[in-house]
Assembly symmetry: C2
Homo-oligomer: 415 residues x 2
Amino acid sequence: MRTTRTELYVDRYAERTRGMTASEIRALFAVATRPEVVSLAGGMPYTAALDHAAVAAVTQEVLRTAGSDALQYGGGQGLATLRERLVEVMAAEGVPATPDEVVVTTGGQQALDLVAKLFCDAGDLVLAEGPSYVGALGAFATYQAEVVHVPLDDDGLEPDALEATLERLASGGRRPKFLYTIPNHQNPAGCSLSGRRREDLAEIIERHDLLVVEDNPYGLLDFKGELRPALRSLVPDRVIYVGTLSKILSPGLRIGWLVAPEPVRDKLVLLKEAADLCQSNFTQFVAERWFATQPWLQQVETFREVYRERCDAMLAELDASFPPSCHWTVPTGGFFVWVRLPNGLDSRELLAKALSERVAYVPGTAFYAGGGGADALRLSFCYPPAERIREGVRRLGELLTDELELVNAVYGRRA
Amino acid sequence: MRTTRTELYVDRYAERTRGMTASEIRALFAVATRPEVVSLAGGMPYTAALDHAAVAAVTQEVLRTAGSDALQYGGGQGLATLRERLVEVMAAEGVPATPDEVVVTTGGQQALDLVAKLFCDAGDLVLAEGPSYVGALGAFATYQAEVVHVPLDDDGLEPDALEATLERLASGGRRPKFLYTIPNHQNPAGCSLSGRRREDLAEIIERHDLLVVEDNPYGLLDFKGELRPALRSLVPDRVIYVGTLSKILSPGLRIGWLVAPEPVRDKLVLLKEAADLCQSNFTQFVAERWFATQPWLQQVETFREVYRERCDAMLAELDASFPPSCHWTVPTGGFFVWVRLPNGLDSRELLAKALSERVAYVPGTAFYAGGGGADALRLSFCYPPAERIREGVRRLGELLTDELELVNAVYGRRA
C-alpha cells in the first residue's frame, strides 16, 4: 500500500525493538503468558493489591451522583476537579504545580506522544538515558525523532556524559529538542538520580537552555517512602513533568497527566483534542472520587510493601543463583532490576532458551534506540508473587550458569 | 520556544477553525455554557436518556467478577471479547467484519488520528466532504495533510464532483491518500448518501484505486431505523471503517474502533501502542458486558426517539421562524441540521449577536479546511429538550430576520 515516513518508521521500530516478525512476537507472547512460565518480563502493577471494593463503591457513587456528566464528553484539558486532586498527588511528592498547568492524558504514554508530536520534526534529536523506557522510544520513533542515549549508572543519568553529549552535538551544529529522563526508579534500569546529580543536572539544564521531559511513574513507590527533589522543583520553567495513576491506583483507568507552562500547555490541549477529543469522564470522575474520599496514601503504602517484599525476594535469589560475573542494580523502589551479562552472552539469543526453561524477561535491546543492550536484560518484580519470582530467577540463573560454562569452555574464560 | 511544523499547524488550525484567539474562545464558551443560553452548538449526546442503573449494574458485575483484569493494562488491539461484541454491533447495521480486523480506539477520533498518522506526510492530500467533521479536519491538520473538499448536497457527497476532483488532481500529478467520508447523517450537514450514489461511489473508488475512511457514528440513529449499505460492504478491501459507542451508549467511555485489512491493522495497532499503550480495560469490560447482557438495541431505540422528537421540533420551528431565503437540510437521523444563509449574512460575524440573544451555534467556517462556510451554520438538536430547541431556533430566526432586513435596507434586496 502507500508508504509514508511514519509507516517506514513503524516498520523499522517494530523490527528493531523486537528483533523479530509480528507473528514471532505473537508466538513469544503466547508462550510467555502460559501459566507454567514465570514472567519477569511485563511491567504490570499488581492490581490484586488494590482495594477493589473501594473502587466499586467510588464508581457507584459517581454513577449515582454524577452519571450524566460521567458518561458525557469532557473538556480537552481534563476534569477541573481531577486536576486539583492531581496537584495534591504531586504535592505529596513535593512537586509544585497548579491545576491550570495540568493536562490529563491517557496514561503517561500519551503525554510523551503529545510532547513528541509538538516538538519533533523528522530528524530532530531527543536525548534519553541509555537504557530508556521502551514506550517513550516508540512514541519518539513515530515522529521520526532520532534518540541519542546518555549513559546512566547506579546513581542515574551521568551529568558529565550529558554535558559531553551536548557539546559534541553542538560542535556538529545540532541541538536536542529535549532531554527525556526518568529520575526515580528508572525503567528499565531500576536506579535513581542521586541528590547531588540532580543539582548538577539542574545547572547543566539552565546553562544549555535545555527543555526536559521528566517522567515520574514510580516516585511514590520508593520502598522507604523517601522523596527526591523533582527537576520540576529545581528548574520549573524548563520542565514538562509527566505523571500517571497507573502505579499508585490502576493502569486500567488510563489516567496520566502532564504539567507544562501555559503557552505550551495550550498547544498540548489542542493536540490532545485532535488525538482523541478528551479523556474518559467516567474514569476521571472515579479517580477524582478516589483521591477525594479514600485513604489513597495508605493504598500507596500497600503497593510499596508488596513491591518491596518482591524486590527483596528477587535480590536474594539473584545473590543465590546468578553467576557472580553478572551485575545488577539494587533498586530502592519501582518495578525493575537491570542485569548486565558477562561477555559472550546475548540476552536476545538467550530468550528462546529461557522460555523453554519457563521464565521470561525483556532483552536489553528493547531499551535502546540505535542498537545496544544485547549485554543486558530487564527483570520485573512487580507482578508475580515472591515465591514465583525466586523460582523464575533460579531458572534463569541456572540457564545463565550453564550458558556461561559453555561459552567459557569454547572461547576460554572471558567473563 | 522551539517551533516545529506541527506547532505551526496547530497555531494555524486554532486560528482558522475558530477565527479568534484562545482567550476569545474561552470567553465564548464561558458565555455559551451559561444556563440562559440555548446551545445549539455542541454535539453532545443526551446521556440522561441512557439507563444509568443498568450501566451501574454492569459496572458492579465487572468489578466483582473481573476486577483485577479490568483495572489492569490491556492489549494494544483491544479486548478480544469486546471486539466480538463490536462485530455484532456492526452486524446489526449490515457491516461485515471479523474481530481480528477490529482495533479498539479512544472514540472514533483516535481512529482518524492513527489513520492520518500512518498515511499522511506533510503536504499529502486528503479528500473530505465540504463541509466535514471539524475533529477530522483537526486530526489531519496535525499531520500537515492538505484537505481538498468535495461538495455535498441533500443526497450526500456528489460523485460527479468527486470524479472531477480526482481528475483535476491527477492532471497536476497529485493523488489523495484517502477519501474521508461520513455517509450517514453527516456531521455537520445532516444529509445521507443516497443508495444510488453509494453504488456510483463504489465504482469510482474501484476505478481510481482509492482508499476510503468511512466514519459512521450516526448510522444506527436513523429515525426510522432504516439501514443503508456501508461502503465497507460494497468495496471492503478499500475501506477503513470507523465506529464509535459514543452515540449508541456513552461518549464518557471513550470507546471507538476501526476495521482495517490485516497489514494495515498491524501497523495501526503499533501506532495505538505508541500513542497510549492500550485502551482502558475498565471501560472496555463495561462496554463488553453492556452488549452481552443488556437490551442494547432497545437503548438505541430510546435514543432514536429522543432525537427524532427534537429534530421534529427544530424543523417545525425553522419553518415557523427562519427567513424563507435560508435553506436547511431535513435530516432523517443523527444530530445536525445545516443551514445556508442568504447573501449578505456571515455566520461568524453573527455569532456574537446570537450569543447576546442567548442562543449558540457553530459557524460553518469550522467545517472547512481552506476557508469557506461563512454562509452556513450548524444547528444541533441532540442535547437540549424540544421546547428549548424551539426557543433557541426562534431567537436565532428573529435575529436573522432583523439582520436580513438591515442588509436589504442598506444594500438592496439580494437574498
